[in-house]
Symmetry: C2
Subunit: 605 residues, 2 copies
C-alpha cells in the first residue's frame, strides 16, 4: 500500500468519496473531490473555520470560508470532534506560508462547497487526537475508540504487514498452509485445556488446541513436506502480564530435515522480515549458543545480547577465602557468581543497593547480594574487610572490574545464581541505558536439556514435549543419566525474549516408546492421549522437525511496544475478561441443558 | 511454486536430500543426487528392481541393477509399499523406448549407489497408489494415509493457492487483516453457540464465534476502513452433508461504501481468483438479479444458471380451465407453474415420471405433479383429456414447448411451487446432462426480503441479521407492511450454491432501534446481547457494509469436488466426531471440577 493511502481509483463505483484523507497532494490542486472522515480538530479563525478530517490513511484540512455561504459555515461551526462527515470541494494550495511540511497532505486544503453529516458522536472517553489516555480498563472497554488512535492503527498495520511478509516468504519457499481443527481432543499435558462440551455426545468434550503440534506431525506423515499455519492457540493459564488466553503462532513443520535445515531456513525468513519491516540487514547465520553456555554466561536461556555484563564465576576463588558467605556455598557444591556493572558506582547509593538486595531476595529467593565498588584500584564495600588485600586483587583480576564499576555477587544454588544475576543484568542494563532501546538482537539457543525433574510428582518431565528427539550422540545416556541428555531443540531469542522454539521430532516408534517409559507415561495412557500419533508413526513417518513463533510477541518486539495487548485488536485482561463485550458471560439454562452440563458454583460478585 | 516441485536450492544445509521426487529432468543427467520419499511401486523385472519413490512434488523411478551390488539389490527387494527411503545415485537417461511422457520425471531414472531405510510402514488400509478406496469412515480414521493420495494433496494445494490469491488481492487493495477473538460472548441468535466454560469466572461461559460480525463492524467504527480475515467460525447445528461444525470464511468489511462498491470490488476479486486458479476470463460485472425475479424465474435464491429451463407461470391460464387441480389453487391465490424439460419425452417412462412425482411430494410437500409430453404438435398425458383442444394449444403457446419436450406442472402455494420446480430443474438438468459439469456460473442475487415470518414464535425474524439496512426507498413500509421491505443484501451464487453473502449495515442508532422493535427484541435484551455494538454506533459510526464467503464451499466449487470433507484436512463426521483423534472425548473429573461444571448425563454407548 502506498504510504499516501489508498486512492480508490481501481473501481468505478464511487458513492461516498473520490479520495481518502491521506491521498491529496499538490498535483490534485484544482480538482473537485469528495472525502469522508472523522472530525479530528476544529479551529475558528477570523471568519474561517478549519476542520481537519481524519481516516486510516491520513488527515486533510478543510477550510470553510465565507464565500461557501453562511449555511455551510454554520454547519461547520456545529461540528464536534469525532463527528463523521462527507465533504465535497475544490483542492486548493494553502495560502503562502501556511503549508505544513509535517503533514503528507500539508501543501493543500479542501475548500468545501457541500457537506453532509454522516453521523454524530457522543462525547468519547478516548480522543484519538488527544495524547492523554484514560486508564487501560477504559481503553479496553471502549476499544473501538482506542483503536482509532494512530499508535493502535500503526500496531495493527504492522501486525498485518509482518504476517503478510511471513506468509509470502513461506509460500515462495514451497510451504503449504493447512488449517487444522480448533475442536480437538483434550490431551492434558503441560498447560490446562479450554474445553468445549459436546451437545451431540453428552458427557464428552472437545478441547481448543494449545498448539497444532500433533496435526502438523500427522501432515508430515501424510507427505505434505512443508507446512505452515498462522494458528490460533489457547492456554487456560493464570495470566501473566504478557500472556493472553488465546494467541497466534506461526507454526512450521518440515520433512527430511535436521536442525541445521530448520535454522538455516528460519534465518532467511527472519532476515527477510527484518529487512522488509525494519529495513535492517541481519548478518547470517544468526548467532547460536548452547543452552549450557547461555546459562553460564547469562544465567538465562533467553539472554538479552544487546549488551554485555556477562556472568563471571568466582566459585573456585570462593573456596579459598575465609568469608563463609562465599566459601560455604562453594564447598557445598553450589556456585558463587558475579556481574560487573560498568561505571555506575556513583549512581547506586547504599539505599539503592539495598533495594537490589531486596529484589534478588524476594523475586529470586537468593540468600543475599554481596557488592563491591571499585575505587582507586581497590574494592570498597561493607564486606571489604572480610577479605585480605591479596583476595581484593584476585577479585579484581578475575572479574576485570575497573574504577567506577560495581561488582554484584550471588552465592547460591546454580539455579538461583542464574535467575538472580539474569534479573540484575536486565534491570541494571535498562536503568543505566546500556543499550539502544531501538536496537535488535537475534540469536538461537540450542541443545536444551531433554528432561526436567518434577519435584512435586517425583518424576522426569519433558522440557519441550514428549515427541522431542534426543541428541543422537547422547542416546546411551537415556538409560544411565537422563539428566545429562540434551534435546535437538532450538529457541529463537530476540532482545532477551523467547520469540519461539522448536525441536526435531522422534519418527521412530521404539525410541518414542522408550521416552514415554522414561517420562513414566504407561502404554495405556500414551495410547489414550496420543494413540493416533503413535499409530501414525508406524505407517511410514519421515524424519521431521518444526518450530513455532509467537506472533503477538514478535509484533511487540518489532514494533517496540511494551505491552502485548497493544498489538492485539481485542485483547483480554489478566483475568481473561473482555471488558468491551463482557465475555465470559452468563448463559441461558436452556443452553446448558442442551449440553448436558450444569454449574456447580456461581462466581462471587 | 514451479509445477516440477521445489528444488531445495535456496539454502545450503542439505542433510537428507538434494532434490525432491518431482525435480529431476533430462538436464540433470550425469549428476549425483540424493532423494527421499515413500515407496510408491516396486517392480522386479529380470535382474532389475524398479522402485518408484513419491513425495509431494512427484514420483521418480529408481532402477537397482546388478552393477549396484547384491547387498543393495537385496535391500531393494526387501522394500514394501509406503516404506520411507533415502537413495543416492546417478541420474541417467532411461533406456531407449522406456521414457514415460506422462510423468514429469519420465525421461530419467536414478541408478542408486546407496540406500538408507528411513522408516518402515505397516500394511496401510489406504494406498495412495491404488485407486480403490475403503469406506469414508476408514479414510477419516487414517486421515494421515488418506491425505497421501494425490487427489487429497491436490485439494489442499488448491485450497492453499486460493486462500493465498484472496489474501494477495485484498492486501493489494488496501485491506488490513485483523484477527478477532475466538473466545467471545454468547449472543444466542440464529444457530446454537459452542460454549467454553470459564475457570476463572465460575458459572460463566465464552462462546466460539458464529462469525466475526460484531467485531468487524466495531473495526469500521474504529476507522479501519477495509478489513479482511480468513476467520474460523463455529455453529453447533445438526449437520447436513455439506456442513461442518467449524468452517472458514473470507470475512470482509468496508467503510463509506454502498452495495455497488462491495459488488464491484468483489467482482474484481472473483475474476482475479477465476483467472489465476482456473484460467477463466469472467465477463464483468457479474450478472445480478433481484431476489423476487430469481424466485419467479428459477424458484430459488441460489439458481443454477449453467442451464435454462426457467419456470413458466400458468396461473392466469389455470383460472380459465375446468381442471380443478389447476383451477382450485389458482383461484385460491396460489400458483400454477411449470418447467419445460427439453427433448426428453422418450427418456422418461411412466415409471420414471412416477418417481419424479414421489420426489416432489416427499421432498417438497407438493400435492402432486402434472405432466405432458409434446408429440406431433399436441400434448399427451393421462390428464390430456381433461383439457380442450384450445387449452392444449394455449399450454403449448404459453410454455413454448416443442415436440419431444416434457412439461412438468406444480399447482400449489408459491413456496412449494418454488421448491419443487427448483428441485426438479436441478435434478433433471443433471440427469440429462444439460450443462458441462466443468462450466462455472457466477451471479449476484440482490435485494432479499428484510424479514421472514416465524410461524412457531408468531413474530418477524431478520432474514440476514438484525443489523441489516432496509432498502432506503422502502423505509416507509417498515410501519405498514414489513413483509414488503427488502434489505440491501446480496448473495454470491456459484453453480447453484450460495458461496457467500452480505449486507449494508445500519449505522444509525434510531433506525437500529426501530428494527429491534419490529423484531420484538426489547431494549433490555438488545442491550444484553449487543450492548457494546449499540453503544459504539453512538460514537461516530461510518456508513459500512460487508460480505463473507464460505471458503470450504468455494474451494469445493472451484475444484469440482462433491464433498466438502474432501477440501478440509481433518474434517468431522455428520455427528461432529473426529474419527482419527476420537474427539470429542471423556475428560478427567478434575478438569470439570476446575471449571465448576458437572455432567448431567453420559452418552449412551
Amino acid at each position: 500500500m502506498p504510504a499516501s493511502g489508498y486512492e480508490l481509483q481501481d473501481y468505478k463505483a464511487i458513492m461516498y468519496r473520490t479520495h481518502t484523507c491521506g491521498a491529496l497532494r499538490a498535483e490534485h490542486i484544482g480538482q473537485e473531490v469528495t472525502i469522508c472522515g472523522w472530525v479530528d480538530r476544529i479551529r475558528n479563525q477570523g471568519g474561517l473555520v478549519f476542520v481537519n478530517l481524519r481516516d486510516r490513511y491520513g488527515i486533510t484540512q478543510t477550510a470553510f470560508a465565507p464565500e461557501a455561504g453562511e449555511d455551510l459555515l454554520e454547519l461547520a461551526r456545529g461540528l464536534k470532534m469525532e463527528y463523521v462527515v462527507q465533504v465535497t470541494g475544490k483542492v486548493c494550495a494553502r495560502p503562502v506560508g501556511q503549508a505544513n511540511p509535517d503533514m503528507a497532505t500539508g501543501e493543500i486544503e479542501v475548500r468545501p462547497t457541500q457537506m453532509t453529516l454522516l453521523n454524530k458522536c457522543n462525547q468519547p472517553p478516548v480522543y484519538p487526537s488527544i495524547p492523554e489516555l484514560p486508564s487501560e480498563d477504559v481503553r479496553l472497554q471502549y476499544r473501538y475508540l482506542d483503536l482509532r488512535r494512530t499508535a493502535m492503527q500503526d500496531a495493527l498495520m504492522l501486525r498485518h504487514r509482518m504476517i503478510k511478509t511471513l506468509r509470502d516468504y513461506t509460500d515462495a519457499h514451497g510451504f503449504i498452509e493447512v488449517e487444522t481443527p480448533m475442536l480437538g481432543r483434550s490431551t492434558p499435558e503441560g498447560a490446562r485445556d479450554y474445553l468445549v462440551p459436546s451437545r451431540v455426545h453428552p458427557g464428552k468434550y472437545y478441547a481448543l488446541p494449545q498448539s497444532p503440534q500433533l496435526y502438523k506431525q500427522l501432515l508430515m506423515i501424510a507427505g505434505y513436506d512443508r507446512y505452515v499455519q498462522l494458528a490460533r492457540c489457547f492456554r487456560d493459564e493464570d495470566l501473566r502480564a504478557d500472556r493472553q488466553p488465546e494467541f497466534t503462532q506461526l507454526d512450521i513443520e518440515m520433512s527430511f530435515v535436521e536442525m541445521e535445515d530448520i535454522l538455516t531456513f528460519m534465518d532467511g525468513m527472519i532476515a527477510d522480515l527484518a529487512k522488509k519491516i525494519l529495513g535492517l540487514d541481519l548478518q547470517l547465520p544468526l548467532s547460536r549458543m548452547d543452552y549450557d553456555e547461555a546459562m553460564e554466561r547469562y544465567g538465562s536461556d533467553k539472554p538479552d545480547l544487546r549488551f554485555g555484563m556477562e556472568i563471571i564465576d568466582l566459585t573456585e576463588f570462593a573456596k579459598t577465602v575465609d568469608f563463609q558467605v562465599f566459601r560455604g556455598p562453594a564447598e557445598a557444591g553450589n556456585r558463587v557468581r558475579a556481574i560487573v556493572v560498568p561505571q555506575c558506582a556513583d549512581k547506586y547509593s547504599r539505599k539503592a543497593i539495598d533495594e537490589l538486595t531486596t529484589y534478588v531476595k524476594e523475586d529470586f529467593k537468593a540468600k543475599g547480594l554481596v557488592w563491591f565498588k571499585v575505587e582507586n584500584g581497590d574494592i570498597a564495600s561493607p564486606t571489604a574487610k572480610k577479605f585480605t588485600d591479596e583476595e581484593h586483587k584476585k577479585i579484581l583480576e578475575i572479574t576485570g572490574a575497573k574504577d567506577g564499576d560495581m561488582i554484584l555477587v550471588v552465592a547460591d544454588t546454580f539455579d538461583i545464581t542464574c535467575a538472580a544475576l539474569d534479573g540484575l543484568r536486565r534491570r541494571l542494563a535498562k536503568e543505566l541505558k546500556l543499550y539502544d532501546p531501538k536496537s535488535m538482537s537475534f540469536s538461537w539457543i540450542v541443545s536444551f536439556p531433554m528432561f526436567e525433574w518434577n519435584e512435586e510428582d517425583n518424576k522426569w518431565d519433558a522440557k519441550h514435549h514428549p515427541f522431542t528427539m534426543p541428541q543422537p550422540a547422547e542416546l546411551d545416556l537415556l538409560d544411565t543419566a537422563p539428566e545429562k541428555v540434551h534435546a535437538v531443540a532450538y529457541d529463537l531469542v530476540i532482545n532477551g525474549f523467547e520469540a519461539g522454539g522448536g525441536t526435531v521430532r522422534i519418527h521412530d516408534t521404539n525410541l518414542q516408546a522408550k521416552i514415554f517409559k522414561l517420562l513414566n507415561i504407561d502404554d495405556q495412557t500414551a495410547h489414550e492421549r496420543f494413540g493416533f500419533l503413535l499409530d501414525a508413526l508406524k505407517f511410514g513417518a519421515p524424519p521431521h522437525a518444526g518450530i513455532a513463533l509467537g506472533v503477538d510477541r514478535l509484533v511487540m518486539l518489532f514494533g517496540g511496544y511494551d505491552n502485548i495487548r497493544d498489538v492485539i485488536a481485542f485483547p483480554k485482561t489478566a483475568r481473561a475478561t473482555d471488558l468491551m463485550t463482557g465475555a465470559p458471560g452468563v448463559v441461558d439454562d436452556k443452553q446448558l441443558d442442551e449440553l448436558s452440563i450444569q454449574n456447580t458454583r456461581k462466581e462471587e460478585n
